[in-house]
């Protein structure tokens, strides 16, 4: 299938690719992940428009099913009710209070996990000896998901803020450490060789070759870390908390107020969405130097 002759020969031997914005590029380039390439604004607008019919149809059906009484409101409150509660929670400031508490927890825990993960992953990536000693234990530690450590930690530190910080830090630490370690290890050998030819010092090598080359995988780890931190926050707030957005969900469930539950779920989704977008934007900014290379 992957015929070497085909790949090696000039791509012009292939039949011309179909027309389209990529047709101007040689296929080898077109096949590369140019996800962040500048899209034509019109194409973007069309994509944006096409995104709406499906969710709007689902919402309409959902609302109608409540209006026509297919589903009792206690089982699935109609979207209008959910949005109304969401608005009320926003206006009363209650939602903000819970969100603020949750965000403090996430960022404190994530900050701890990120710094420890970078340190640990960096040390494991740079020193094979350190890796030999630490990696097996780290691996065993990461095999147990956050949720497995939860009962143990509750016994040891109680259910106060320390519990949340520790769990969220653990959730962020593992992906950051693994990706940092692998990112550093996978720096292409030829780059290191060139640097050695130029007689780079160890610091220059790290600063100018290893870290830039490892930025993308490390950033990937940071992304996963923050996503996992948010996931861990919701779990720990559902299980052991008296405030925060996860608590709001449990609270609504206990009172059988599903509209409150769904409004809180909506808030969880919005925060997750914003975090993801922020990370995508900062990734584009952090790796902006890679574009001219393409």
């Amino acid at each position: 299938m992957a015929n070497p002759a085909l790949n090696g020969a000039s791509s012009g031997a292939l039949e011309p690719p179909p027309a389209g914005p990529v047709a101007a590029l040689p296929p080898a380039v077109a096949a590369a992940p140019v996800a962040a390439a500048h899209k034509a604004p019109r194409a973007w607008a069309w994509r944006w428009l096409w995104a709406w019919p499906f969710p709007l149809a689902v919402l309409a059906l959902w609302q109608l099913s409540a209006v026509w009484g297919w589903v009792p409101e206690q089982v699935l409150p109609p979207p209008a009710a959910v949005f109304k509660v969401f608005g009320e929670l926003l206006a009363s400031g209650e939602l903000w209070d819970h969100l603020r508490i949750s965000m403090v927890r996430v960022f404190a825990g994530f900050g701890i996990g990120l710094s420890l993960g970078l340190l640990l992953g960096g040390a494991m990536g740079l020193s094979p000896t350190f890796r030999d000693y630490v990696f097996p234990l780290f691996k065993a530690f990461s095999q147990v998901p956050v949720i497995g450590w939860l009962p143990l930690l509750i016994l040891v530190v109680g259910i106060d803020e320390e519990l949340k910080f520790l769990l969220i830090a653990k959730a962020a630490l593992v992906p950051v450490a693994i990706n940092t370690c692998q990112g550093i290890q996978n720096v292409p050998n030829r780059l290191v060789e060139v640097a050695r030819v130029y007689g780079f010092t160890r610091w220059q090598m790290l600063r100018k070759v290893v870290f830039p080359a490892a930025t993308a995988p490390i950033w990937n780890g940071v992304r996963y870390g923050l996503t996992h931190a948010w996931l861990a926050l919701v779990v720990v707030e559902l299980l052991a908390s008296s405030e925060g957005i996860g608590f709001l969900i449990v609270y609504g469930r206990q009172l059988f107020q599903l509209d409150v539950v769904l409004a809180a779920v909506l808030a969880v989704g919005i925060v997750g969405f914003v975090i993801d977008k922020l990370l995508a934007v900062s990734e584009a900014w952090l790796l902006r130097w890679r574009k001219p290379g393409l």
Binding site: Y133, P151, V250, G269
Partner: protein, 267 residues
Amino acid sequence: MSSVNVQRNLFHKVPPRLRGWVLPLLILAVWWAVVASGASDSPLLVSPLAVWQRGVGQVVSGELWVALSASLWRMAWGFGIGASVGLAVGALLGWSRWAERLVGPTFHTLKQISLFAWIPMLSMWFGLGDAAKIAFVAMAAFFPVVLNTLEGLRSVPREYLEVARVYEFSVWQTLRRVVAPAAAPSLFTGIQLSLIYSWLATLGAEYLLASGKGIGNTLIDGREHFWMDLVLFGVVVVGLVGFALNALLAVLEKRLLAWRDRTIARY
């Protein structure tokens, strides 16, 4: 980077293969010493021996098997349902541009909702029994499979499809001989993630919908009764299951994707 300063200190004297054991043994020794010294009389400080005995007790009495089989049974059902539906949805989104345009953005928005936030809703709809747990595990398994199937189908190089067109492959042939092998690594990643998430979700469901038996319930039990030895044993079992799942997948990947190495080796 590899210019390791060759200092023959203590750390380098241990042969590399044994180095991984140093830290765990050290921790175990310190733990044992602290317990033996009687420095603390906290009921939480149990000896490693107590954990071992608790583990033996759980195995001999059969309690471990009851809990473990219940958990694995739930996970298998949830994973089976979630992964197959995910495969179908992912294939649809990957195959049809229209489906992706219409449903893709909604899907990518929905996946941002932290999974566990759904549990209270699910408990309302399906109760606290196995139905709710399996539904939750299925949700956890669903998302990674869809994402990776979609990505796998999208990453099939255009040239491969063009070659297939030149050879006038039928749709089935193209799928079987070009698309499936090219997308296989990504599909596999999806299955792998999905299985790990399923295990995580099984535990989560057992905590939050605490009813019946399961490893999650064992852990919760231990916490409620302040049985540190049971909790520690539970954590070890959870880790071992995760490890076993990963090992199983590594073997499968080696067998199913063995052609990958061969293709590269021919160059």
